[in-house]
C-alpha cells in the first residue's frame, strides 16, 4: 500500500518535472542552454504520459473515486516540491540572469555602484517571511493530506479480508462493510451491512442478489422460486449494500448464504463461513451464547 503511494508520488513528480523542463524558462535554467523544439515536445509528451500513468496506477489500486482523489493529493505535493526545487535551482550561483527577482527573494539594499555584481556572485537569500510562507505552503497541505490518508478507512472491497469468488457464471467480491460488531437497531435486532461488487457487465444478467444468515427458503415443488433469500443488495453505482439481520438463535454453523437470481430465472447459491466473512459477527454470536 505504502509502496503504491510512493510510486504515485514519484511518477507524478517525474511527470511534472518533464512538463517544467519543456518550458523554455525552466529548460534553459536547468540545462543552461535553450532546448530544441523537438526535445521540448518530447519532454511535454513524456510529462503528460507519466501523469497519466500515475493516475492509472491510483485508479487500479483504489478504483476511480478514491484513486482520483489520492492522485490529486500526491499531484499537489509533487507540484509544490517542484515549485521550490525549481526556484532554488533558478537562483543558484551563476544560473540566474541579472536583475531578475522572484516573490520569495529579497535583494540586498544597494549601497554602492557595484552592488549588482555582488548580488549576482552570492545569489539572493530567502527572507524570513518568505521562508515561513514557503514552509507553510508546503507543510500544511502535506500534513492535511497525510492526516486524510491515515484516517480514511480502506474501502471494504479493497481490504484483504474481502472474498473473491464465483457464483454461477459471475465473479464477485464480497466483504462486510465495517469490521465492527453488528449494530443493535429497533426491537433489539443485530444488523450487519455487507458490500458486493459483481464483474464488469455482469449486472445486466442479474435480477437480484441476496444475503442472509441460514439457508434460503423456496416455494414448495421442484425448482420452486425463491420465497425468502434474505435482504437484497441495493444502492447506486457498482457496489451494492445489504443489511443482514442476525437471528436470535443463530449459530456459527448456520453460515451466510449468498443467493443470486438471474434475469432468466436461474438461481445460484453460495454458503460462506460466518467466521471467514465476518469475524465480528462470529464474535458477537459466540459472546451472545
Amino acid at each position: 500500500m505504502t509502496a503504491v503511494h510512493l510510486l504515485v508520488l514519484l511518477i507524478s513528480l517525474a511527470g511534472f518535472a518533464g512538463l517544467a523542463l519543456a518550458m523554455p524558462k525552466h529548460g534553459k535554467a536547468i540545462f543552461r542552454q535553450p532546448l530544441s523544439d523537438a526535445r521540448r515536445q518530447l519532454l511535454r509528451l513524456a510529462g503528460w504520459l507519466l501523469l497519466a500513468v500515475a493516475l492509472a496506477l491510483g485508479m487500479d489500486r483504489w478504483r476511480f473515486d478514491i484513486g482520483t482523489v489520492t492522485w490529486l493529493g500526491w499531484l499537489s505535493v509533487a507540484g509544490l516540491v517542484l515549485v521550490f526545487v525549481l526556484s532554488r535551482w533558478a537562483v543558484r550561483p551563476g544560473s540566474r540572469p541579472k536583475n531578475e527577482g522572484s516573490f520569495f527573494m529579497q535583494r540586498p539594499a544597494q549601497k554602492s555602484g557595484n552592488a549588482d555584481s555582488e548580488s549576482a556572485d552570492t545569489g539572493p537569500s530567502l527572507s524570513t517571511r518568505g521562508t515561513v510562507f514557503a514552509a507553510a505552503a508546503l507543510l500544511i497541505p502535506l500534513a492535511w493530506f497525510t492526516g486524510q490518508l491515515l484516517t480514511t478507512p480502506i474501502k471494504p472491497l479493497l481490504r484483504e479480508d474481502a472474498i473473491h469468488g464465483d457464483v454461477g457464471p459471475w465473479s464477485f467480491t464480497l466483504a462486510e462493510k465495517e469490521q465492527n460488531q453488528p449494530e443493535i437497531v429497533a426491537l433489539n435486532v443485530p444488523l450487519k451491512a455487507f458490500v458486493i461488487r459483481f464483474c464488469d457487465g455482469c449486472e445486466r444478467d442479474i435480477r437480484m442478489a441476496y444475503l442472509k444468515v441460514r439457508e434460503p427458503r423456496f416455494l414448495p415443488g421442484v425448482g420452486g422460486s425463491l420465497r425468502a433469500a434474505g435482504n437484497a443488495f441495493e444502492g447506486r453505482g457498482r457496489e451494492k449494500t445489504a443489511e443482514v439481520p442476525l437471528p436470535r438463535a443463530a449459530t456459527l454453523g448456520d453460515g451466510l448464504w449468498l443467493t443470486v437470481e438471474a434475469t432468466n430465472g436461474e438461481v445460484y447459491h453460495q454458503r460462506f463461513d460466518i467466521q471467514r466473512l465476518s469475524p465480528a459477527m462470529a464474535r458477537f454470536i459466540r459472546e451472545d451464547k
Partner: protein
Amino acid sequence: MRIPILVLALLCSAAVSAHTPVCLCELNGNRLDCEGGFHDGSGAVDVTMRVIAYGGETLVTGKLDDASRFSTPLPGQPFYILMDVGPGEVFEVDWRDIVGIDGQRFETTEAGDVVVPQMANR
C-alpha cells in the same frame, strides 16, 4: 426554489433506501405475538405476515395491525414467520428465534431434518 427541493429529495431518497424490516416474536401461552417495524424504529403498518411450515405450506397469512403487531396461534409443526415488505425486503423469524420458546420443541435429526413434531401445546 428547485435546488432546495432537489437537495431535500436527494437526502430523503438516501433515507428511504436504507429501510430494513425487523421483527420480534414472543410466545405467550399458546399464542405467538409479533411486533414488526423498521430498523430506525418506525412502525410497519399493514405489512404482510406469513406463518409457513418447513415443508413450504402457508399456515397463516395476516397483516401487521395499526400498532405494528401480529398475533397467531402456535403451530403444531416446525415453522417460520415471514415479514414480507416486498422483493428483497423480508425478515424471517424461525421458530427457534421466538422469545420464550423451548429450543427442543421440534426435534431434528443430526442432519437437521425435522422428524417428529413433539407436543404442539406443551
